[in-house]
């Protein structure tokens, strides 16, 4: 059903009891042309664009838990495209442009809110690095600007610009087009769009092994809901990518770490934009429900536990209280962790693999949400045609042999 004012009126007259399910929940078929492993934002977007842009219909998206229940539902929903290198500007720039019309594209309100993203500089070094980013972005046609502490405080009056604090604010890089979106709605919108085009989304279906034929080509997957034959597999499993790829005998340049976030009790709107600080490991925005959404740095050691150490969250809250003294007595409501798959150069891998028919989209580390539409768009091209889209060609698995890394280690939202 297309969502419109007319349909809203009709459903209202029926007491809102006749809204159809947003996507189907079919039994898995015996065979699909393509199997996508992982029904998070990136996996669902991949299936959506494979159906829409490449005319494929016989696709399954397998999810071991529930749709959007991994990092899609755990991230802090920040969208920006102020990365340093040209390949990154390509992929994050594409994603940012797609975000701007995504609600219309999906006929689903993803609540994209370009309220501005401010990266705080605390030292001369920060200032030099940020200005380098600003110049690089503007050369690539991506707007980004430098703010003095006074300008930053005009935009975000909560900021403590006192020069006497431990890490004083010396300025900020500001991307006005950046902002947030509703993470669950992104997964739901892509799921609905994909399902309408014939894609089967199968939840509670964990992949246990990958089978290959005599030539080594992918032949299918064994799942907790039976065997499924397929000639193409796209792995979009975030923190569990190493585990899934090991089923096909492929080692990955990945390490999985817990990354924590917190939300406060809901409050009236008082935080006008997103504020992030690399140097002191803290960032904060206010959701449309009124909760302050706070992100911490990564934990020190690899883990699949979806929990982090309390001392990491404590450090972040100390930093938040110094930057925003007004929030110091607000109570935190929930604290959780997600497992992020990090690469050595802190750029993603969107690539074919040494196994014919096996493709992988991973390594988004601490900042994959912002890339969701662009990632799905180019990975759909990669899986459907077998060859990379021009935008994802630099993000091959091969780069870890050739040495052509896309080093964004200093550019990501939180210091690594």
């Amino acid at each position: 059903m297309r969502y419109s004012f007319l349909n809203l009126a009709v459903q209202a007259l029926a007491g809102h009891k006749r809204w159809p399910e947003q996507w189907r929940s079919p039994e898995p078929k015996k065979e699909y042309d393509t199997v996508i492993v992982g029904a998070g934002g990136h996996g669902l977007a991949t299936a959506y664009y494979m159906a829409k842009e490449h005319g494929m219909r016989n696709i399954a998206v397998l999810e071991k838990g529930w749709l959007g229940g991994g990092n899609t539902g755990r991230n802090t929903t920040i969208i920006r495209s102020n990365y340093l290198w040209e390949p990154s500007e390509g992929i994050y720039g594409l994603a940012h442009r797609l975000w701007e019309s995504l609600s219309q594209e999906l006929n689903y309100n993803v609540m994209f809110s370009p309220r501005g993203v401010m990266l705080i500089a605390h030292s001369h070094h920060d200032e030099q690095v940020f200005k380098r980013h600003i110049h690089a972005n503007r050369l690539a046609g991506i707007p980004n600007e430098w703010l003095t502490p006074e300008k930053a405080k005009q935009i975000c009056p909560l900021l403590n610009t006192d020069r006497s604090i431990r890490y004083p604010i010396v300025g900020a890089a500001y991307q006005r087009r950046g902002g947030t979106a509703r993470h669950d709605a992104v997964a739901w919108g892509y799921a609905r769009g994909a399902s309408d085009r014939g894609v089967d989304i199968i939840e509670n279906c964990e992949v246990k092994s990958i089978s290959r034929d005599a030539s080594g080509t992918v032949a299918g997957v064994e799942t907790t809901r039976g065997a499924i034959a397929t000639k193409k597999i796209g792995v979009v499993a975030a923190g569990h990518t190493s585990v899934i790829m090991a089923m096909a005998g492929v080692r990955m340049p990945l390490e999985s770490f817990p990354l924590q976030a917190l939300v406060s009790e809901p409050l009236k709107p008082f935080m006008p934009c997103v504020v992030m600080s690399n140097t002191i490991h803290a960032y904060m925005s206010q959701s449309d429900k009124g909760e302050l959404v706070i992100g911490a740095g990564m934990d020190a050691y690899t883990s699949y536990s979806q929990m982090g150490g309390l001392h990491i969250a404590t450090q972040t809250l100390e930093a938040i209280c110094e930057m925003f003294p007004i929030v110091s007595r607000i109570r935190m409501m929930r604290n959780w962790g997600g497992i992020v798959d990090t690469t050595p150069d802190r750029s993603p891998i969107i690539s074919k693999t040494p196994v014919p028919g096996l493709f992988v989209n991973c390594g988004w580390g601490t900042g994959g949400f912002k890339a969701t539409p662009g990632s799905g768009f180019v990975f759909a091209h990669q899986v459907a045609t077998g060859e990379p889209h021009a935008i994802n060609a630099p993000f091959s698995l091969e780069r870890f042999r050739s040495g052509r890394l896309v080093n964004e280690a200093a550019a990501a939202a939180v210091a690594h």
Binding site: S242, V243, P253, A300, Y301, Y304, G309, P344, F400
Partner: protein, 94 residues
């Protein structure tokens, strides 16, 4: 926060005294014979297991020495810590 037993100090100390130093038992390939694949494997590719993981830690705020640790990455429970240069203990025995 983990409580980690330093095999040199022979004490259980809180995680904040230590620095994590990645996968253990990686062997640097011989410079004169190593191929691109050998370097790639040594520098970038990691086991990243869901389960027992052999890893290096450094007792930065204590003795300052590197040692190895066997930890379950699902429960974060430490099975054993052992000195650098010692063999990885048998998981079943710990």
């Amino acid at each position: 926060m983990l409580l980690i037993h330093c095999p040199y100090c022979e004490m259980d100390r809180p995680e904040i005294e230590f620095r994590y130093a990645g996968e253990a038992h990686l062997v640097r390939p011989p410079a004169d014979k190593a191929s691109d694949e050998d370097w790639s494997e040594f520098l970038y590719f990691r086991a990243n297991p869901k389960g027992l993981h052999a890893e290096r830690w450094r007792h930065a705020s204590g003795c300052g020495r590197y040692f190895n640790c066997l930890r379950d990455t699902v429960t974060d429970k430490i099975a054993a810590t052992y000195k650098a240069g010692e063999k990885r203990p048998d998981a079943a025995a710990t």
